[in-house]
Symmetry: D2
């Protein structure tokens, strides 16, 4: 998100104060984490730097860890409303739309935040860049039912995921963590044994359980693929999706599909994404009268 | 629709006046059609009786035919509102929901009726039992674009279809026209090579282009089929449909589907029906990660 | 196999001597089994009669049971060569081709028989009507590796299967055991969404691991099915099979398959049958460029 | 095939005699063709050089063209036996196994060569690197049934294909013709939604209509693909093939496949290749009870 990433070389060469300042926002109120690893420099890779910072947190006394966790802002909480939140947190919560909640949603988040804090004594922390907004709520409810031990471990895992994405954003250099989520598709016309070109495709986020939110429209190229993956180089958000394939229009000229209206028109394929950094390839093999889809690779 | 069908034997044995009365409603204002075929009795099959009546209409002088066509009520027209329409027409138009139109829909039908009558000089006649309501409108618009010759031929074909269904309703006996539309499905679990039992299935009418109207919910039995076809023994209405298969719940216990949320949950299969008396078999072959569907037999 | 089955009524009404004679061949050297259940008459179903006879064997003292088992002929053994074997055994062994073995096969059976008898003290008994000849050998070798307890239990289970088939052959009446194996297929042309008619199909027994033995050739009818199942109303033999579908010739006239030579010509589908009384439905969904097959229902 | 290709630069800079010598073998007895284009140098691409040489042949007087065609050796003919044939021809005919024919095959080729020469007055010329040996014979017979005009055109097209491959072998430089045939596969386990790793795959040439000739054995890697395409960077030979997928062994550990013997074991997929420079991707999507295959891209 930073337009000019810091280089690993600059971090390795900086004085401790600058080093702290440059990395202070990666971990929430985290200049102490940066300070603790300054002496371990030089780091050979960005990843090694991140692991050292995570180890500092994991290795800290319980009270320190809890204090650190408690220093995190609530999701969609007062800090968000007041602007009293680290820049990274603000930007991430914004990316999931948590800064544009309806009154009802705000109240639901408030109630969940309250319940979570009462039950576990810590704020609810989640890598918001890994979830669609509705799935943050689903995950929030699911995690409320777990044990305190599970939640402390889960919280540190989430902080690991959050900070890995942050450090990949702000630090350039060898071993920079690669954010490798990808959703792709292709369409095969099994009547002619050829890629289906010119098929209109719509991608929707169906996470809210309703008609969904259109994320984009694209047409297949001569290889039956899209010029770019539907989603790439960002974490995929855990949630539900639909790819709608307009194969009725594609087969309209085909002499083998005389039915009017055509048996198949817009074929919806609905699926969930569960792994933010996996590759999801969701192809369609179609004739005017049949189709197959699968999670491919 | 008549609870006590007339028997073909009774028709064959009746005096001409009773014969006319008994069949007078099959063709709209059609006692003259009945009268004309009375002398051809006895009929060996209900179908032969129907064909004789149709031949009477087709063989009549043009002016008679046009007068006959003009005697039909308008779709969703004033006759429907006033109750000034044959019982069969009233019942059929009701079956398509044409007696429960919104003001906007009524106005659209009025405008189309007017345009059609202006263009062709006859009322728009369609076998309403062969179409969903939205597809009646689509067909209405499509037919407005055709030639007068095409529309007179189409009108007689529609009257043939309408009266075939009516005579099948009211006359019992050998050669009674069989109304043989059928929509069926089955679900195969290709992980275990067995029919998928207990899969919840919803059938929706999507003809209106929106979220659709739930037509029914059913569960697959031990053969992966439904105890009865989804639709049977009535004409299928030309329109768009969705069968939603709840395979996420079915596979929830399957050790091979560890993803959370599951990749596939409710699988929607959307298709159009174009032939009212055909068999549409729309099966699903599924694993937690793939599925196929096709028009089967 | 008997052309004139005995009726259950006749068995129920016969004197004990006749009863014994009539059923003496169902269990090998089994007039004592028949005699033992004569007093339990009348039997309401053929199945109840069979169960009573099986219970007599299971309930007999160990020595009697072992003597009974030892009274069975060896598979493809000297009794077969000498003709010193019950008629049913002779017919069954003939059905599996065990009376037409090559010298090498005879020697292999001899060696296995010897090894089995040395290890377990009983002859090897198997329901030969449940296996292809090569799979009898595979099963023979597999069973040689099991424990004596497993083999005594397995032997009685096999005798239950053998005698169930025999009694179904020779006794008519209510509750006659139904032999319900079935292998069927159908071919769907997913280019046109219709059953594929006129597709030549060959069924081969591939159990011997070579090119296989042609069991039959048939053509699909207008429903894309065969007029009769490929196999029906007999036990399916556990073994390996191939259905070869000549879809190249079927699609030869199809404008969408311009490739020469055609991409797909004769499509072989190879599978094993493991359950003699199950239904195996093995369909083919095909275009000139793709196909799917599965164990259906 | 030449280990040290000539460079285009060298050709452009050579004196005419060297130029002739370097290219003399590309067209059969073809130094005159090289000489004719020498003055057109420099050529910017290898492809342009090839096109100029082809144009020389096409533009030559009919008698020259026929003499040129007649200068080609017969397939598997006396020149092959005597060694009286250009190096390229010898190597190509060897690649199709035409130097290792049985007596019966030699006689068949002789008879076809004689019939062809009698009918058309020219030797039969075919791009042998584009066909399996049995398909050369099939094509030979097919072409015998065509008209002289068709065959002269076809012969020049085949010479174009032959010389394109030769020039790609011997001349390096910009615009070198790319020989881009490719056969690839991948295996997807649709039970687990993952690529199937460790699946043994055999590729066979089935062109001779018998059991086929094993071309190679390979195992799928972690991506369910083979490390290299099954065939790549050479012309695919028009012919029939089988890929055999050992999925029974792959699924043997899968808890969902309890059948013994397993329903599916070695899955054969048989197909023809019709386009030597196309990409054929022939994947398998499988469970223990079902599979799909198609020509993909």
């Amino acid at each position: 998100m930073s337009l000019d990433p810091i280089t690993l070389a600059a971090l390795n060469g900086a004085d401790v104060e600058s080093f702290e300042r440059m990395l202070g926002d990666v971990f929430e109120h985290g200049s102490w984490v940066a300070r603790a690893v300054a002496a371990e420099r030089p780091f050979e890779t960005v990843d090694a730097l991140h692991r050292a910072m995570l180890a500092t947190v994991s290795g800290a006394p319980l009270e320190t860890r809890l204090a650190f966790i408690r220093g995190h802002p609530e999701l969609a909480g007062a800090a968000a409303v007041d602007g009293n939140m680290g820049d990274s947190s603000a930007s991430e919560q914004g990316s999931a739309g948590l800064d544009r909640l309806s009154r009802a949603e705000l109240e639901r988040f408030s109630a969940l935040n309250r319940a979570y804090r009462e039950r576990f004594g810590i704020p609810f922390i989640i890598c918001v860049r890994h979830y669609t907004r509705p799935f943050i709520l689903l995950e929030f409810e699911r995690r409320l039912g777990r044990t305190p031990e599970e939640e402390v471990a889960m919280t540190l895992a989430q902080i690991g995921a959050i900070t890995r994405l942050r450090i990949a954003d702000v630090v350039d250099g060898p071993g920079r963590p690669k954010v490798d989520g990808r959703l792709s598709t292709h369409v095969l016309d099994t009547v002619s044994g050829r890629p289906a070109a010119g098929v209109r495709i719509e991608l929707r986020d169906l996470s809210d359980g309703g008609a969904g939110v259109l994320m984009g429209t694209v047409e297949t190229n001569g290889d039956g693929r899209t010029d770019k993956p539907l989603i790439a180089d960002v974490p995929l958000r855990i949630g539900r999706y639909e790819i709608a394939f307009h194969i009725g229009a594609y087969f309209a000229g085909c002499t083998q599909a005389p039915a009017a209206p055509p048996f198949l028109d817009v074929v919806p394929v609905r699926f969930a994404i569960a792994e933010p950094e996996a590759h999801y390839h969701v192809p369609l093999l179609a004739t005017p009268w049949s189709y197959s889809t699968y999670r491919g690779s």
